[in-house]
Amino acid sequence: MPLSSRTKLVVWCIQFAVLLAGLSYLWLFKSFTIVADLNQIFSVEQEPEIQLVSEQLEQQQLRQHLLLVGHQDKTTAINYALRAAESLNAIAGIAVKVKFDALPQLDSIVRDYLNYPHAFISEQYRYLLQANDSQSLFNYQFNLLNEMASPWVAATLEKDKTLALADFFNQQSLPSAKLKNHDGFLIATKNEPVGHTRYYVLVNFMSNGTGLDLNVAKKIAANVTSLKKQALTQDTGVDYLATGAAFFTASASSSAQNEMTVFGAISVFATLLLIMIIYRSALSVFCTLFVVSVSMIYGYTALRLLFTEVNVLTLVFAVTLIGIAADYSFHALSELRFSKPKVANPLHTIRSSLLLSFLTTTAGYLILVFTPLILFKQIAVFTMAGLLGALLCVLLLYPSLVVLKAKSAMQVPNFISGLHNLQQVWLNNKLAMRWQLLFIIVGLFGLTFLDNDDDPRHFYKVPDDLITQQQTISDLLAEQWDSSYLLIAGENEQQVLRQMEQLLPRLEQLQANKEITAYSSISQWLPSISMQKSNQQLLSDAVNRGDFTQLNSVLGFNLAARPLDEYQQLDFATWQNTKVAPLFTNQWLQIQHRYYSVIKLKSLQNTSSVKSLANTYTDVFFIDKVAGISEQIGQFRLQLIFIYALALTMAMAIFWLRYGLLNAFVAVTRPLIAVLVALILSTWFYGSLTVFNYVAGILILALGLDYCIFYAEHGLCKKITLTTCVSALSSLFVFAILIVSSTPAVSQFGFTVFIGVVVVFLISPRLALVSKRNI
């Protein structure tokens, strides 16, 4: 027995009250944050252990921020750095540091190593000792001794007459060598063109806890912006250079929020204007607005229920729900406003079409739930829940809106009649199916030749100003390491050190081949105990062999070897208390009983060589998140093509049962043609395709099948022309506006959907031939 309008209204009110109660509960008792870090959209599948370590390292990096306060006068720069630190200190959730311990001085570094004679030898020195060529060894030693400005020789020669320690230090480059400590302030200098020097004082700040809270990020960015404004208005001559996740996050967040507000407002306004023009009733506008609002509440509740963190990009894409949810209202409004007055329940006629439409759209989005990318899961959950809300609203609430029903059937606007006539002309002069089939085959074949860009860095645009600041800071501090690195794991410290030692000659080779410009490893400063013992043995043997006779005669000393058991070695725990060790804290990690060390790489040219190097050794991992994500996106892109095929096959099966095989084939080829045209034009417009173009294809399929169902069910009548036209126009208002988004991913998505919707709107009326009700 069909439910009465009143019962439907009661059911709708009850379910909506339950939803609001649930939302209130989630609001109060479940944590929920909006994350703006676009890198977190993607996660790379790795071994759980490595995933844990790399995430921890990444979190450490996310928390680190740098502010350089610059001025031509050192004291002024220091004063403004102190003021900046004070103002940043007012932000809860960050720890600011402007005064630092003295950077390790040459003498203090040497002191830490002097107690371990002969333990430290450079690769080159070791090679000469092993070659048993005393003349080459002496030449090497004499050149060291004769160097015009070698502080290491001066600092070590008195204690180490072999010059091995001086040579060992000569090979090292200290991190942050560009920063000089001046009364506790770390200062970098920049030579300006006119011969002046500009001083940059470092202010370091870290967010507390793990990761970075969006609110803290916004406060940090606002604080630094206000400092910069002050410097400009007061003409202090101070400049601020800042870098760190907070600045990128705040920028991405504000741009996404601005776009969401502007695009949302324009879409809603344009859609409402359209309704006003077509349906000529303020209540229609209110009803559509209500459906869209309810659908948003549904979507938001689902997000809060299923996720604890939602990316801002999800909310940008969420705007698209306005276009789809409003369609349901349009179908209902068309029936109510344009049906003949004698029809008692005009909504009854579109119930099955709405349900079928909801099922096909949901099926399309449901597939996205099973994709590995969290962003698409969130978009799918939001859209599906939102559409459910819109459907329930139309099916249960609209029957009560009999006031909307026109007293006499309204005339469809003239331009819709014109369009309807045009559709009939197209239908009579339709392109032969064989040509359409040929286009599909050529299009599918052509698709394999289109360029695909899976680099996640191209999906969003970082403001040029932030990039410039980051670059300038890197240049000033000479600390520009790649995001990819080698991770070495081991059961104990010595095992990790030994592993790293094995890698060093290979890394040297890569450096010699210019595949990397530099690398940084703890083992450069701390050889393993076994290596230190071997070095001591090697030097003692050389002394006993008389390889140092020439050097002894130059120095006027007689170097004698000591018994090996008198030599000591520098262990890891002691090394951690040396002056050099604090410079490497971010390259060492201990999690429970496992030890990890990072080898940083600079300007890596070819990842495959380092990847194969890592594969040669156990417990050595090459971590390249960007490449990992690119690979994952590439796989996902292929999966999406499979998803298209699956969705079309499922749709074809449903259509086959209802309309027969040939008609089903015609139906599924509509959205397929639209997707192919949209992808080809997107490549022409943007130069290459990204995963967002392919995701847009899913929406085209969903909307296309939706239109096909309505034409197939209701034939080519003016009412359906009107509804599909309003639906297409409202979708275009939503998607076309995305094209101007500053985020390339959003823009590409909008463009593809825009083209797809136009094409599918033009070619879907062919399905009207299927309907028995064709007029």
């Binding site: 001794l145 004769n146 015009m148 400005a149 001066a154 600092a155 008195e158 000569n170 130059v554």
Partner: protein, 194 residues
């Protein structure tokens, strides 16, 4: 009152001494400058704890504020002091290897050897009745390497440089310019092409 008067008197006296000795004027090092040229050098390093000096000699080329330092005796080696780093090789067959890329150090060393002394880099004191100056580096990092430098000029063709490091070891360098004309080979020697 008396105390104030004595302070003023002392300041006036200092000012007088300064005016007469020209202590506020910036030193003119234009005569030390070697824009281009080549010659021979001898070097003796005196370590405080060694009885004898470490001596070496060879030839040099200076071109465009860059220096090629070719030690011939007792052990051959080549040193390039360029704008972007200091490079060395012990064997002509080998490639140059970078010793340091710290621009402050190598630029200052290149300037020192080519006599392009800037008052902003050094605290300069003229040594009376000689054509010598005592230079103390103003940059902290450079001061870690050079405690002070004594720079002397002996006519147009000879320079003497004595570098004293933080451990009070002295490096005594005598440079004799033989010609200011450079062949293409000389100019090529100052380039890091290998």
């Amino acid at each position: 009152m008396l105390n104030k008067f004595s302070h003023t008197l002392w300041l006036v006296a200092m000012l007088f001494v300064c005016v007469t000795t020209n202590c506020f004027a910036q030193s003119d090092f234009s005569k030390f400058e070697i824009k281009q040229g080549k010659g021979e050098f001898s070097q003796a390093k005196h370590f405080t704890f060694l009885k004898r000096a470490i001596k070496s000699q060879g030839e040099f080329v200076i071109f465009q504020q860059q220096v090629y330092w070719h030690t011939l005796l007792p052990v051959k080696s080549e040193l390039l002091v360029l704008a972007d780093g200091i490079y060395r090789r012990n064997d002509v067959e080998q490639d140059y290897q970078v010793l340091t890329q710290d621009k402050q150090i190598n630029q200052l060393l290149a300037k020192l050897l080519s006599g392009q002394i800037q008052n902003s880099d050094w605290q300069v004191t003229a040594i009376e009745q000689t054509s010598c100056y005592l230079l103390v580096p103003t940059l902290v990092q450079v001061a870690q390497m050079f405690k002070q430098v004594k720079l002397c000029r002996n006519g147009d063709s000879q320079r003497e440089i004595v570098i004293t490091d933080q451990q009070n070891n002295n490096t005594h360098i005598t440079m004799t310019i033989t010609t200011k004309e450079l062949s293409q080979g000389d100019m090529d020697a100052v380039k890091l092409t290998h």
